[in-house]
Symmetry: D2
Amino acid sequence: MSAESTKEDQGLIEVLRDKLRQFAADRDWDQFHSPKNLAMALSVEAAELLEHFQWLSDADSAAMSAEKRRKIREEVADVFLYLIRLADKLDIDLGSAATDKIKINAAKYPIETAHGSSKKYTDL
Amino acid sequence: MSAESTKEDQGLIEVLRDKLRQFAADRDWDQFHSPKNLAMALSVEAAELLEHFQWLSDADSAAMSAEKRRKIREEVADVFLYLIRLADKLDIDLGSAATDKIKINAAKYPIETAHGSSKKYTDL
Amino acid sequence: MSAESTKEDQGLIEVLRDKLRQFAADRDWDQFHSPKNLAMALSVEAAELLEHFQWLSDADSAAMSAEKRRKIREEVADVFLYLIRLADKLDIDLGSAATDKIKINAAKYPIETAHGSSKKYTDL
Amino acid sequence: MSAESTKEDQGLIEVLRDKLRQFAADRDWDQFHSPKNLAMALSVEAAELLEHFQWLSDADSAAMSAEKRRKIREEVADVFLYLIRLADKLDIDLGSAATDKIKINAAKYPIETAHGSSKKYTDL
């Protein structure tokens, strides 16, 4: 585990992970929570989040009503919760996985070649 | 901010958020990172994660090769990173949003009626 | 079956449906083609299509290179093929389902109230 | 255009395409129907379809209530309609694109090596 991802840092995700374990246990939902099903649920929640933006201009998407922002906040939370639950079932440490991936991305997208470009790394 | 979501707890997400801000600034990518575009990218990454599970039985999805697990870990990280970036652009605190949403879900899915059922709350 | 959806009209979809049946039978793939798995594959293909547009401005999305257009055409085809396959497994006639849905949408979005608005029907 | 995709065969898709053009024109919706936005809408509809299957076993997904089947039929129709609309905006002939893609897939997945396997062609 890297310096950026100490035990103290991960308190939040661990707390949420434990709440979700209890939530599922209380409702006997572990039978439904295969990694496959959780990956589906995560993808569905990501699309529900996307739906809020689908007809907006980029400018509109940065300026929304309080009610719309409240709904979006809930969808963002749903994505996060399913991600934590899936990572738990797959024994993935979200913090170290994300820290590692930033390094991989930095190698894929060197500052010099990627600057100002939205091209995929395979096209740079 | 709730007791579960103290400043110390959020260290990890804040560290990742700051790394992503720097990553985008270094590459002049803020011009592409509208909430709409980030919500699309999040949805695309969630589908790339889902692709790893699409033909598997639920049993298979819990038992995969080390190489497959490594790829899945990277996709999980991608979803997390775009989620942190989107939440940053929308000024959403992931920890408190998730903590609030668990409470909402607990009200939608009371233990008595939801026990052992995969029905949506609107059908319970 | 409506006047718009005669047997002759559906020739194309029926031909494609039969090719896909043969394709799966030749490879012994029916074991994987549950409606659930096909719905996942459809969603994954839709996201692969979406990926081509994710960082583009709306203007850019209407003006793309021949190579990019070729790839997008293939992704569009993949979505269509999985949709035909899923509809076949679910005994859904795509033509009459689509014709019926246009009528439902016309009732949800009356010309007077929906004109020039991108609001969801529940918000009109 | 191949023998399988004659003008007569495409009657259904052309009829639906024209209805959708009229639908958008009547509501002044062309301003929202960039390929990018339509690709988002298609992806969102595919996820709404997927949601109906997300907690089901593969066996369950083949045996559903009439009400659930009705809703699924509507989601299938929505995917088809957005696909037709997107293809129209991109000048893609769905019939010939699909016919071509089946040939590409047949080359990617030769019967001998793909038989009984759900592996991606890159792993065969």
